[in-house]
Amino acid sequence: MADGTRTDILARTESVCPTCLRRLPAMREKQGEDVYLVKKCPEHGEFRTIIWRGPLPFSSWQRPKKASPPRQTFTDTEKGCPFDCGLCPDHGQHTCTALIEVTSRCNLRCQVCFAAAGDHGAADPPLERIAFYYDRLLAASGPCNIQLSGGEPTVREDLAEIIRLGRDKGFSFLQLNTNGIRLAEEEGYARSLKAAGLSSVFLQFDGISDEVHQALRGRALAAVKERALVNCGFAGLGVVLVPTIMPGVNSGEIGSIINYAARFSPTVRGVHFQPVSYFGRYPHQPHNSARITLPEILLLLEEQTRGKVAASLFAPPACEHALCSFHANFLVQDNYRLQGITSWQQTCCAAAEANVEIPSAVEGREKNISFTARQWAAPKACVCPPTMVQENEDELDYFLRRAKTHTFSISGMAFQDAWNLDLERLQGCCIHVVSPEGKVIPFCAYNLTSSEGRALHRTWDV
């Protein structure tokens, strides 16, 4: 580099051109502490996108797994990744969580929306079509966790029936991806979804201040979010807060979100961060300063919680590709402080010493399905007062009692867009969307759009 910073090629992979979407060779290139995905289209030039920034070592973030192809594929491998998704026989992971988009309508107009909801007026799929989606998932991978998504699913009047249908088909964990407006505003709505079999709410929650909601969602929503939380609590629904993190907009509220979430434990079962990604029409490459990477979020978590949520507690995933996510588990104590209850260092060092064989991706998938279903739903045990240590209870008894109700997960997942798409990551993806024609497509491939707004797999462009 001109400034004398050393550059190393860490790995070779593949990606696509953000302009014409043709497949290209790509490199993960280390420059100082930072790592970039670099690729060059013969027609549209070079693209250099930040994928890892800061002092946490990129080399430490590994969790290899052996590829495990889908049980049943709905497409053949013809053009190669990412053009054959369905899933195709070359895919390396089964479905852990499947998104079913029950509508494309929405009651917000957000600046950030992976689904470009509300723009194209597509009709809602009827119940019979959703039954077909459930059947396709059972054929492709067997029972998995379901996330009902959109658009905003609560604009449908038959959402409870969709949930009931999923339960009847044998899916035991159904989660609702929502902005929370209807849960907040309609008396009895949360209870009706719980009665239908809903397990958990994936609540869009970008911050605790109205300024953040205004900036990202175009509306002051802080009070609405809190009402939604309270209503879910009374209904016995577990809630996961899901902030989309945009640098300079809400990256300063990461610690406040955690503190807020802990005070709503055990209704709030965890916080799941999503760094902003650039789906949709972006004629110019989003500047790297407009991106935030997973290790930066880990360091902000540590900094903004004054070390209570230490970056060293976090682990790469067992299910999806290591570079796609982080997670750690905590216990919410009586004073709402978080106590880390797993240590990745211990686990990984023990595994290295024991010379453990690389696990199959499907093992990670099974673990992830059961962990998510347990942690993101409301606790099964009764949350009975008093919560303090009892007379005849020892420390271990107290810990056991508390951990049955007040475990808390912090996780983050980095979606990929046309600039930072890494096909090695995509082939290990376990978060899949069912397309209108019943194909099962990795989330980031399904939402991939060129800089001109051309969609690779969605049936509409943005």
Partner: protein, 69 residues
Amino acid sequence: MSTFSFISETAWRCASCNKELHPRKVNVEYMGSVFNVELMVCPVCGFVLIPENLALGKMLEVEQLLEDK
């Protein structure tokens, strides 16, 4: 809070020091958490006895409860 106690007469002796075990307060770190406990300990080398009912009881319960992905 009462101390978590596993003091009991035991036939076990410390193999290295050939000493009888005595009750002592120790901090046990398990699954990333520290518990204040009383256990039978070798007075010379400090080696701690984890009795079977603890290992297969509460400790196993903690492990199952906190199983990670």
